[in-house]
Symmetry: C2
Subunit: 408 residues, 2 copies
């Protein structure tokens, strides 16, 4: 039988990250490639208690078909939690989604036609590029600087269906936008008539200080906001949400109905019970302590092992989230280097996959979330070793003394 | 802010059924409009035990991100269960979906372009029409007779990307295809080069005798098969699956990744544990007994209260599933009648919503799954009352004696 594929199916390609993850899950490899949160940080006991309460109190309601909008008390809770984050919205604007990945799929379905323009950061979240791809848009890259996407780039994106922005501890770059840049971006977007889709799964994973208010707080009805319980509770529940302007909500709701009728009511009630128990603040404190130790271990390892490359290797210590973004010496292709790195015992994600256009081949993403600090050090040491071998020999004489003293 | 909608968003309309359901959930209404399974039939105790086992044995694996394909042991189990149903496939062909509604969304994404043709039964499952709508296909209706869609209609659909077929106890018509018609349909599809998408959520809800083997058993790589645990365990878990030819599987998998990364691993493991406990055969026996009593009560009520209309009202006793499909006297519009029916204390779904084209306005769907037998009788009695009032007075004199004697 000859099946004829839809045109969009030709743009659906295997997730590079997932294919690499498969290769690097063999024992002995220090995988800094993952995008997983730390399983040791899951609140298993609280989830067990919440599950027992749901199955004792309202089992048939939890197990029956349910409203596509989501579980009412959970929507109320999301609205209340967002108010504490500086985003005041009505519970009726909250649509519970099957992870925030589904929010991206719904946004693409409702807002993107083939050929329509969507503006994204460079680099940006790979899963969003994949979700949008099924609508076959024209993806345009927003120019940026060290503070994030530039307001004049947003202004230049006039005509885009929306700008897709991740202000907090972005996956992959770890970058957090400052308050002044947020204001400038929103003002530019409003002036240019470019709506904002704000993706914010890491807001609660700040490690130094809470981030500024979301873009949506200033943008109002010019923004859709996406959130998730995957990083603060557990991704295996697949519970996320989006917040939409009242004018758009009905279309997103209809797309949600068509996509999977509703997010599992059982899972929504478990999340609601966990949050209602009041355990979240203490849980987040513990989670931040855990991630801070990991983050600091990776920062120390990078300084220890990559310092010898001087300014040829660059990174920022992230103030939250799960990732370091490293720029390797110019001329080194992180994708080409990966097989050698895996042979040496370390895996990472080459940065090129995160670019919609003009990828910077000398970048890579490292996750500090799941690997023990002692192994992080071993992994970064292995990375430094293959880097040293790959670095253009022409450049080595300039720095040979430093390399030799650091490595022996 | 002016948000520009995607063209497809204009075709996303509120679910008629869901809007009606909202109106008819007020107390005192006998709602035969629902599409829900009976919550009293959910295996709550078995699910409680399975959940406890998952959270005791493998909590962190169940709560972590997981493979997009689905939980390996569940995929194996699905393959084994399908073999018992006459469909021999490899576990590697099974893709776990967030309810079988998601399977429809993924199939549409991978196989339908704007304007491409998809052939459907008349009537057909409304949720499928909604899922396919986001790809903006041209939906063509397959001519049928009392035995289901006609093989020559399948042959005439040459050029369609696929024919969407529900052979077992179809929602809404309750119709089950016989073995000979199945063979003829598959042979016509193979000869015409029309692939089959077979939707089979009700296979295990047979009430008289197990249905013939699925179409996919004969069609092989010319079919995608969709299944669900919503009707046999509980819909609130949102666990379904599709079985795809090996050539199509990677594209469906990539569409799944982009849609929601994966179906909740927690829920998949609960379903696996429940099935592995061996409780399903006894549970299905009990479920069938429950549904048989309801089905027979509705059949008796229809005979009792609609019999007075003679051949002007027609229905078939369904051999499984959850629905009766009733043809009202010609000239009566079931949608127009609904407000009066609700005033009289009964709700149903007008049949027109289930037609892709040329809807038959004098049809309606009745669910026997959730309403107690005594209330089913009261509901059908109310339906007969409003029908009697609406039936063209011109026709009444012909039958007045029968109506009078039956109703007083």
């Amino acid at each position: 039988m000859d099946w004829t594929l839809a045109r969009r199916a030709k743009r659906l390609n295997p997730s590079v990250i997932r294919e690499i993850l498969k290769l690097t899950e063999r024992p002995g490899i220090v995988s800094l490639a993952g995008g997983l949160p730390a399983a040791e940080g899951f609140p298993v006991e609280a989830l067990r208690e919440a599950t027992a309460r749901v199955l004792a109190g309202q089992p048939r309601e939890a197990l029956q078909y349910a409203a596509s909008e989501g579980h009412g008390p959970l929507r109320e809770q999301v609205a209340a939690d967002l108010a504490a984050r500086g985003l005041r919205i009505a519970a009726s604007q909250v649509l519970i989604t099957t992870g925030s990945q589904q929010g991206l799929d719904l946004v693409g379905k409702v807002l993107l036609d083939p050929g329509s323009e969507v503006a994204v950061e460079q680099p940006t979240y790979l899963g969003a590029l994949q979700a949008f791809a099924s609508s076959e848009p024209r993806v345009v890259a927003l120019a940026g600087d060290d503070d994030g996407p530039r307001p004049d780039a947003i202004a230049a994106a006039r005509g885009a269906r929306f700008a897709y922005l991740l202000p907090n501890f972005q996956n992959p770059s770890g970058r957090c936008l400052g308050a002044a840049r947020r204001d400038a971006i929103v003002d530019a977007a409003l002036a240019a008539g470019v709506p904002i889709v704000e993706d914010d799964p890491y807001a609660d994973l700040w490690l130094d200080a809470p981030p500024p208010a979301p873009l949506a707080a200033r943008a109002g009805d010019a923004a859709i906001y996406l959130g998730s319980f995957s990083k603060v509770l557990a991704p295996g529940l697949r519970v996320g949400y989006l917040v939409a302007p009242k004018s758009l909500y009905p279309k997103l709701l209809q797309a949600k109905q068509a996509a999977d009728l509703h997010t599992p009511g059982f899972n929504q009630r478990i999340v609601h019970e966990v949050l209602a128990s009041g355990m979240l603040p203490a849980h987040l404190d513990a989670l931040r302590t855990r991630y801070r130790i990991h983050r600091d271990a990776m920062q120390a390892a990078l300084e220890r092992h990559l310092g010898v490359f001087g300014t040829a290797c660059r990174w920022q210590r992230p103030a939250g989230g799960m990732f370091f973004w490293v720029e390797l010496p110019e001329g080194i292709d992180a994708a080409a280097l990966l097989p050698r790195a895996v042979d040496a015992g370390v895996a990472y994600v080459p940065g090129a996959a995160f670019y919609a256009a003009a990828p910077r081949a000398n970048t890579l993403r490292l996750s500090f979330a799941t690997v023990a600090p002692s192994r992080i050090d071993a992994g970064i040491e292995a990375l430094a070793r293959v880097l040293r071998e790959a670095w253009a020999p022409a450049q080595l004489p300039l720095r040979r003394g430093a390399v030799a003293s650091a490595l022996h």
